[in-house]
Assembly symmetry: none
Homo-oligomer: 225 residues x 2
Amino acid sequence: MQKILVIDDDENLRDTIGVMLERESFVPIMAADGKSGFEKALMLKPHLILVDLRLPGMSGIEVCKQLRADRVQTPIIVLSAVGDEVDKVLLLEIGADDYIVKPFGTRELIARMRAVLRRSGDDAGRVAHFGDVEVDFERRNVTRRGKEVKITPAEYNLLLFFLHNPERVLTRDLILNSVWGYEYYPNTRTVDAHVVRLRQKFEVDPAAPTHFVTVHGVGYRFLPQ
Amino acid sequence: MQKILVIDDDENLRDTIGVMLERESFVPIMAADGKSGFEKALMLKPHLILVDLRLPGMSGIEVCKQLRADRVQTPIIVLSAVGDEVDKVLLLEIGADDYIVKPFGTRELIARMRAVLRRSGDDAGRVAHFGDVEVDFERRNVTRRGKEVKITPAEYNLLLFFLHNPERVLTRDLILNSVWGYEYYPNTRTVDAHVVRLRQKFEVDPAAPTHFVTVHGVGYRFLPQ
DNA sequence: GTCTCGGCTGTAAAAGTTTCGTAAAATCCC
DNA sequence: GGGATTTTACGAAACTTTTACAGCCGAGAC
């Protein structure tokens, strides 16, 4: 679910777009002028910005320029009125990702939004450590003392979930839901079986685990370091 | 500038709080029910959440629990109606940071908000204390003088029940019903056996308990500090 | 006040129950 | 076919309940 900031001084249009966004299960955030739109863009970090070119006070062009000057990478779609002369060079220059001419259809706007959102793939490539193990999220591989450890997809996903939830006690149900997906309930021992394999690959002594710890009667707990 | 999410089904109250927040130069975000409140909390990452305990659909309690289950650390202040019996340990357990009883004054709410915001700046804490023991509900672990104490499910549940009902004299029947579940009547000594183990783990002198106290002929009583 | 006695409680340890670890078999899925 | 995943099975380990007995408590008798 993604936040969409709509910056437009036309209240009717804002409402229309807002309703439409909600129907598509986006979360709309509204701003009626350039200045407040700019501030909300900084503060609320929307996933995408729809901004009218002509705005009272700070114009849409200035909003874009200013955001890019502040190194805000959020994709921007410019809304322009029929008469506006929109040239692609200007859009490139101000850092917009696409534009659409008013009046536009719901379907068209949504399509462009999805296209822009798709293009702006996010995700940072980083590395996590625990014990003598290093996990490279970007390359999806795991090394132990510099040597690569072969790891299956299920094991990797489970490991990721543990890495994201250190210290906490995680029930098997929670793990199944989170790692295997909703509504999917294999036999309870599935989790155990995979934990065993993580231990065999990453514990100094798999029989006396220090990272993948059992909490009897409840579930498991991952302890980094 | 800080975002405050207000989850309450009473539109009047929402408006009142909204105006008040804006006057104090917070940015209010509104939600009329638990589900949308929960979603906005995840998505818009407010700095603080005000949530009514009683809500149609997903209750305030569920909102809190779910957020904490999703590892959202945002401080939460619970709004409760006059009649509600507010259990402080329950609040701690579900991860609330403070509560305030309706109707409340602007000044009071602002003061608490600032206090909570200030607190959440430094340390974490969904924890209860008694004696030299600390119970971390989120991690589901118990430490004594900083050292983790291993605790079994039955012991943990019993401890939780005591924490929820401090000072009160609790009969064995009541304890069995509440901790072990309705209609389940093992031999009466079961409770005693577990109390013994709590004493051994958490009393300075298990033979002269000061926290888990016997009330002869009736049951037990838990005294924090 | 203090003695006495029956019932209540403390507690270790035995007995019973549940949960877990793990290899191996079965199944799934390219 | 061949690796990955899930299920099975069963011994081991952990936990819970019961047992057993010693010691404690409190009410009434004196």
